[in-house]
C-alpha cells in the first residue's frame, strides 16, 4: 500500500521533471508547427487540389509548361552562378584575412562589412544597385562622362555601360546584386574554417617535402571541403529563394520561380494559387535533392571527423 503510494509520488515527480526540461522549448515547437509544419502541409496538399478543392494532378502536370520550365532554369542558373562566384570570391577574401598576411585592421573592416552586407537584401539592396549602376545611377553617370576624342576629333565614350549592352534590370544585374550578399556570406562562413587549419599541418607537410600545391591538394582542401560544400549550399539556397530583390530590381520582368509563385498567389484574375503551391513544391524538391547530395558528400569526406 505504502509502496504504491511512494511509487505514485515518484512518478509524478518524474513527469514534472520531464515537463521542466521541456517547458523552455515549447514556444519553439509552437512556432515551428504554426510557421513551418502547417504551411508546408498546406502547400503540399494545395499542390494536389484544384480551385474547388478536389484532388488533381493538373498542377503538377502544369509545371511542364515551357514558361515554367524556363523559370526553373533561370532560377537555377542565377543561383548556381551567384553561389559559385560568391564562393570563389569569398574564399579568397577569407584566405587573405586568415592565412594570407593581410593586416589586422583590414581583417576587422572586412569582417564587419561582411556581417552587414550578408544581411543586406531585398528591396533596399535593389535600390542601392539602381542608385549606383542603374540607368541613371551615380557610377553609370560618372563612367558615361569619361570621353576621349581621337585624332579626327570624333568623341567616344567607351565606358558608357548602357550603350555597350549592359543592363542592371536583367539576369546579369540580378547576378551582380545577389553576389553582393552571397560573397560576404561566404566570407563569414568560411573564415572560421580556414582559421581551423593548423599551422602545424602546413609545417609538417613542408617538412615532409611537399610543395604548397600538394599541401592544398592533399591536406587543406580535403579538410575544408565539407565547410566549402556547406557554405556553397547555403549560398545556393539564399539565391534560389530570394524574391524581393528580383521583384524590385526587374519589376517582375524576369522569370524566376519565386516571382512566378508571387504572381500566382497574389490573387489577381490570372492567378492560380494551387499552381503556385505546385511551383513551391518543386522548389522544395530541388532543395531537398541538393541537401541530400550535400549530406552524402559531407559524410563521405568527413568520415575521419570525430562524430
Amino acid at each position: 500500500m505504502e509502496n504504491s503510494q511512494t511509487q505514485q509520488v515518484s512518478r509524478r515527480a518524474k513527469i514534472l521533471d520531464v515537463l521542466g526540461n521541456w517547458i523552455g522549448v515549447i514556444p519553439f515547437f509552437i512556432f515551428i508547427i504554426v510557421f513551418l509544419i502547417l504551411p508546408s502541409m498546406n502547400l503540399f496538399i494545395g499542390a494536389f487540389r484544384d480551385l474547388n478543392g478536389n484532388f488533381t494532378f493538373d498542377n503538377i502536370i502544369g509545371l511542364k509548361d515551357p514558361a515554367i520550365l524556363k523559370a526553373y532554369s533561370v532560377s537555377l542558373q542565377v543561383s548556381v552562378i551567384t553561389s559559385l562566384v560568391g564562393s570563389v570570391f569569398g574564399f579568397f577574401v577569407a584566405y587573405a584575412i586568415t592565412i594570407g598576411k593581410a593586416p589586422k585592421w583590414m581583417r576587422n573592416i572586412l569582417m564587419t562589412f561582411s556581417g552587414l552586407a550578408a544581411n543586406f537584401g531585398g528591396v533596399p539592396l535593389a535600390f542601392a544597385f539602381i542608385a549606383t549602376i542603374g540607368r541613371t545611377g551615380l557610377i553609370t553617370a560618372i563612367l558615361k562622362n569619361i570621353c576621349f576624342s581621337n585624332a579626327a576629333g570624333v568623341q567616344s565614350c567607351p565606358l558608357d555601360i548602357y550603350d555597350n549592352g549592359f543592363t542592371l534590370y536583367g539576369v546579369l544585374g540580378l547576378t551582380l546584386a545577389y553576389t553582393y550578399f552571397e560573397f560576404p556570406l561566404m566570407v563569414l562562413i568560411i573564415t572560421p574554417a580556414l582559421e581551423g587549419l593548423k599551422r602545424d599541418w602546413r609545417e609538417a607537410s613542408d617538412n615532409l617535402g611537399a610543395s604548397s600545391w600538394q599541401y592544398w591538394r592533399y591536406v587543406a582542401f580535403p579538410v575544408l571541403w565539407p565547410s566549402i560544400l556547406g557554405a556553397g549550399l547555403l549560398l545556393f539556397g539564399s539565391a534560389f529563394g530570394a524574391y524581393a530583390t528580383a521583384q524590385a530590381l526587374t519589376g517582375g520582368s524576369i522569370y524566376l520561380v519565386t516571382i512566378l509563385i508571387g504572381q500566382q498567389i497574389r490573387g489577381d484574375v490570372l492567378g492560380n494559387p494551387n499552381l503556385g503551391y505546385a511551383l513551391a513544391l518543386g522548389m522544395v524538391v530541388i532543395m531537398s535533392i541538393t541537401i541530400t547530395g550535400y549530406t552524402i558528400l559531407q559524410r563521405r569526406t568527413a568520415r575521419w571527423l570525430k562524430s
Binding site: 593548423k198 609545417e203 609538417a204 613542408d206 617538412n207 615532409l208 575521419w304
Partner: protein, 350 residues
C-alpha cells in the same frame, strides 16, 4: 667531422633577440637536447634548423652542405611537433607515406616503408585507422615514424611528450631513444624537462634568454654546472652565501662554521659574492670526522615518496638534505638541533 653545425646563429624578432650567438657541432648519430625555461629560444633554434625561421645572421650546415637559406621542403630534415600534427583526413598509413608520396615514390615502395615504420612502433594493426581513433601516445609514435619514413638526415623533436601524461611520457621517451639508436640518426630534442634531457641525451645544451649557458654530457651538466643558472635549473641545489677565508685552499665560512672545498676558487677576488654550491643528496645526517660539518636546527621535513627532504636552518641559511626513505630511518623532529656532513669534493664555489 661534425655532421650538424650551427655557427654564430642569431635570431631577432622585431629587435628582440630570441637566439643569441648559438654555436653547436653535433656528431653523426648524436642525441643532443636543448634544455631551458619557457621563452629561452629552444623552439626558435629548432625551427631555424628545420627552415621555418631564417636566422638574422649565422650559418647552418648539415654534412658540410649550407642549408641556412634552403626552404623547409628541400632540407630532408624530419620534425616531430608537440601537437603531433597528424593530417586528420588521412589514415595512419597515408600519414606515414605522405612524405614519400609527394616525391613520387611508387605505391609498392611506399607500402613497404609504411610497414617497416609501423613495425618499428608496434602499431601494425592501426594501418587503416584515422588519427582521432588513436590515443595521444599512439599519435605521437605515428608522428615520429612519419618524420623518419623519408629517411631524414637529422631528426628534430620539439617537446614531443609534453602533451602526454607522466607514465606514457617515460615509456615513450625510452622508445624514442631506442629507435634513435637503432637507426643511428642525429637527433635534436627540445624540452624544458630536465629529467628527459638528462636521461635521453648524449649531450645537453642548457639555454637561457637566447644564450647557451653550457654544453656537456648529462653528468657534466649535473655534476659541474658552469653557471649559477645551470646549477639552479638542473636538479636541486643549495646555494649558500659564504665568507672567503683562504682562496687558494678553498676555505670559506658559512656563518661562523668553516667549510673546505677541494676545488680552488676561481672568482675569489672578494668583489663578487661567492656562494657555496651543494646538491641536497650530497649531504648526510650526523657528524663525520674529517668531513665538512654544519650544525643547525630542523626547519621542515617533506615526504617526496622515495625521498625525504629535510630543511635545516644553519645560522639563518636554509639548507636542504635529501635522504632515501628507508624504514629504519630515525627521523629528527622539527626544531631539533641537527648536524650534517659532506665531502670537500661534493661542494664547489660559484
Amino acid at each position: 667531422m661534425s655532421f650538424l653545425k650551427l655557427t654564430h646563429v642569431n635570431k631577432t624578432f622585431a629587435d628582440m633577440p630570441a637566439v643569441d650567438d648559438f654555436n653547436l657541432s653535433a656528431e653523426q648519430g648524436e642525441f643532443v637536447s636543448f634544455l631551458g625555461p619557457s621563452g629561452c629560444g629552444k623552439t626558435t633554434t629548432l625551427r631555424m634548423i628545420a627552415g621555418f625561421e631564417l636566422p638574422t645572421s649565422g650559418k647552418i650546415t648539415i654534412a658540410d652542405q649550407d642549408l641556412t637559406y634552403v626552404p623547409p621542403n628541400k632540407r630532408n630534415v624530419g620534425m616531430v611537433f608537440q601537437s603531433y600534427a597528424l593530417f586528420p583526413n588521412m589514415t595512419i598509413a597515408d600519414n606515414i607515406g605522405y612524405g614519400l608520396k609527394v616525391v613520387g615514390k611508387s605505391k609498392t615502395e611506399i607500402n613497404k616503408r609504411v610497414d617497416e615504420m609501423l613495425d618499428l612502433i608496434h602499431l601494425e594493426n592501426f594501418r587503416e585507422r584515422y588519427p582521432y581513433q588513436l590515443s595521444g601516445g599512439q599519435q605521437q609514435r605515428v608522428a615520429l615514424v612519419r618524420a623518419l619514413a623519408i629517411r631524414p638526415q637529422i631528426l628534430l623533436l620539439d617537446e614531443p611528450l609534453s602533451a602526454l601524461d607522466a607514465k606514457i611520457r617515460v615509456e615513450l621517451r625510452q622508445e624514442i631513444r631506442r629507435i634513435q639508436q637503432q637507426l643511428g640518426i642525429t637527433t635534436i630534442y627540445v624540452t624544458h624537462d630536465q629529467e628527459e634531457a638528462l636521461s635521453l641525451s648524449d649531450r645537453v645544451v642548457v639555454m637561457s634568454q637566447g644564450r647557451m649557458e653550457q654544453v656537456g654530457t648529462p653528468s657534466e651538466i649535473y655534476t659541474y654546472p658552469a653557471t649559477e643558472f645551470v646549477a639552479k635549473f638542473v636538479g636541486q641545489i643549495n646555494l649558500l652565501p659564504v665568507d672567503v677565508i683562504n682562496p687558494p685552499e678553498g676555505l670559506v665560512k658559512v656563518g661562523q662554521q668553516p667549510v673546505r672545498t677541494s676545488r680552488a676558487l676561481n672568482r675569489a677576488d672578494g668583489a663578487h659574492a661567492v656562494r657555496l654550491a651543494i646538491r641536497p643528496e650530497e649531504l648526510n645526517p650526523g657528524y663525520l670526522e674529517g668531513a665538512n660539518n654544519l650544525t643547525g636546527k630542523v626547519d621542515s621535513i617533506t615526504y617526496l615518496g622515495s625521498i625525504i627532504r629535510v630543511r635545516i636552518d644553519v645560522e639563518g641559511q636554509l639548507i636542504s638534505m635529501d635522504m632515501f626513505n628507508e624504514r629504519k630511518l630515525k627521523m629528527p623532529a622539527v626544531g631539533d638541533i641537527f648536524q650534517v656532513n659532506f665531502d670537500a669534493d661534493a661542494c664547489w664555489l660559484i
